[in-house]
């Protein structure tokens, strides 16, 4: 259960990094990366996934395939 960032679409603005309630996102290589071990999909913190809600590019912070 985790979200992931589509690297090719990431603008590297970093908004997701500081909105993430689980500190699961960090800069890695050329874009941001979600640590699947830490991502909670914001369950228990917020109604919507913060990374997806703040990301300026549609369909870039998405649910990772199980």
């Amino acid at each position: 259960m985790a979200f992931k960032i589509i690297t090719s679409q990431c603008t590297a603005c970093g908004a997701c990094e500081f909105e993430c309630p689980s500190a699961a996102i960090r800069f890695k290589g050329e874009s941001y990366w979600i640590d699947p071990a830490k991502c909670t999909e914001c369950e228990g913190s917020f109604d919507t996934q913060q990374c997806n809600a703040v990301c300026p590019v549609p369909k870039t912070c998405v649910k990772a395939a199980a």
Binding site: Q9, T11, A12, C13, G14, A15, F18, E19, F46, D47, T48, Q50, A53, V54, P56, V57
Partner: protein, 493 residues
């Protein structure tokens, strides 16, 4: 007449300020009216003190002082239909576009390198891409580190206003005394056509509701800044058919809440920008449409007309951009600030601008004296310093002035493709220039070839280099008197 004094090119070279000052002084200012103060008569002294070295806040200062932007705050909390932050190109010049984003540490190195090389530097701004108030930690870290080395640099930010009320007190503490808020509407119904969504209180809001929140936060932020005496400039993007007439209402609202300046800018829109407006064919306004709206707004909140809509990593005088000389790979690993050049330049400007103001007053008086009911639109090629000192073919923009019975006022600038590429004038670009000069009666430049001069003449525009290196207003005053003085004499006879 003033003699040719200074070429701003010389400032790019190692500078001999003594020689500069000597030539400036020999230029004819011998009266006691030439003080170092060039404060406009209708302005409060405290306000003038704040803006006199800020090129974006003072039309007069923008002839002398330079700004630089550092792109340290890339995260944003709203989406605007005229913005696409994925797009990035070194050859493009418009707000929100940068070649490289910087960390606060890299930004400090860049600012010091520029301060050592560009003596005109007076202002450091953080203006996107992204929002300086939303990406606050990086904005704050950058400002705090820079002022440790360069305490006299003016700090300013540009914001969409949504997160502004949360940081007004910290802005005060950090001595940020210039804030720009982009306000495109005061009616959320109109806002919904400009902002598809905002991110606020941990969720995404859309539609009218989003714009209602944004509007309330913008007004709250503006009121808080005004209460604390922070000068606030309002930027509005003029979007034909969406908010063009509405900006008259916006102007009233921001004036009532103490905004110092209102800057109405044209929407920049093309499909290749990949913005929503670009892709849906929303056009930007033509120069004369922009001017007509700006003219309607005279009498409301004071208008800014010299905005160049610079890139978010621009460096230099308004209208020039030396950003590409200071990219990360060109910066030294360690830099130390040397204040000598900036200090010497400030002394030079203090004497030169007194001279310029006196010449300007004389020219304005001459226009008023002509007492004819006629106006003249004059486009000027200049590299700065308040003088006609650029070759027609090298101009990438013209500053447009209007001489009318009430005086000589700067009304805006027109960007053009420069005509002279490697020494060969291009007919196609000349047609484009003529189109951009719509409504202009006279072009003043330091040099122009016969061919473009004839073609402009055929289009009804008088282009001349008779006034090369003169002060802009002095030349305009002379042209006005020549044209309408003669007409007046003919009418009387």
């Amino acid at each position: 007449m003033n003699k040719p004094l200074i070429s701003l090119d010389s400032l790019a070279q190692p500078i001999d300020f003594d020689a500069l000052k000597a030539t400036a002084k020999s230029g004819g200012c011998s009266t006691s009216s030439c003080g170092s103060s060039a404060k406009p008569e209708d302005m409060d002294a405290a306000v003038w003190d704040k803006i006199k070295d800020h090129p974006c806040y003072s039309e007069e200062a923008h002839h002398y002082f330079a700004r630089m932007h550092v792109a340290v705050a890339p995260a944003c909390n709203i989406q605007c239909n005229y913005c696409n932050r994925k797009y990035d190109c070194a050859n493009e010049s418009r707000p929100g576009v940068v070649s490289e984003k910087l960390t606060p540490d890299q930004a400090v190195r860049k600012v010091i390198s520029v301060a050592n090389e560009v003596p005109q530097l007076s202002v450091l701004g953080i203006a996107g891409p992204g929002d300086s108030c939303y990406d606050w930690k990086k904005t704050k870290a950058t400002f705090e580190a820079v002022v440790k080395d360069i305490p006299d640099i003016k700090l300013c930010i540009s914001t969409n206003g949504l997160a502004l009320p949360d940081h007004v007190d910290e802005l005060m503490e950090m001595n940020v005394d210039h804030v720009t808020i982009t306000i495109n509407m005061v009616d959320p119904e109109i806002g919904a056509k400009i902002y598809p969504w905002i991110f606020y209180k941990n969720r995404r809001w859309t539609g009218v509701e989003a714009s209602q929140i944004l509007h309330e936060r913008q007004m709250q932020g503006l009121e808080m800044l005004t209460e604390r005496g922070i000068l606030t400039k309002i930027n509005s993007v003029m979007i034909p058919g969406i908010n063009d007439e509405h900006l008259i209402e916006v102007n009233k609202w921001v004036k009532a809440r103490g905004a110092f300046l209102h800057n109405v800018m044209p929407l920049i829109s093309a499909p290749e920008h990949g913005t929503h407006f670009g892709l849906t064919g929303q056009r930007g306004p033509k120069p004369m449409e922009l001017k007509a709206l700006q003219d309607k707004l005279e009498g409301g909140a004071k208008l800014m007309r010299h905005c160049r809509q610079c890139r978010a990593d621009a460096v230099g005088l308004l209208g020039e951009d030396r950003g590409q000389e200071f990219t990360l790979d060109l910066l030294p690993e360690t830099v130390a600030y040397d204040p000598a050049k900036r200090e010497a330049y400030r002394e030079f400007v203090a004497s030169e601008r007194g001279d310029h103001m006196a010449a300007k007053e004389q020219a304005v008086a001459a226009v008023k004296e002509a007492a004819v009911d006629a106006s003249l639109l004059v486009a000027v090629a200049t590299k700065g310093g308040g003088r006609i000192n650029e070759h027609f073919g090298h101009a990438r923009e013209f500053m447009v002035y209007e001489a009318r019975p009430s005086g000589i006022v700067f009304v805006g600038h027109r960007k053009v493709e420069n005509y002279c590429m490697g020494g060969f004038g291009e007919d196609a670009s000349l047609d484009g220039i003529i189109e951009m000069l719509e409504g202009v009666n006279v072009v003043l430049c330091s040099k122009i070839g016969d061919c473009p001069q004839d073609m402009l003449q055929a289009a009804g525009i008088e282009a001349t280099d008779r006034f090369a290196f003169d002060y802009i207003e002095t030349a305009i005053g002379t042209v006005y008197a020549e044209r309408f003085g003669a007409e007046l004499a003919a009418a009387v006879a």
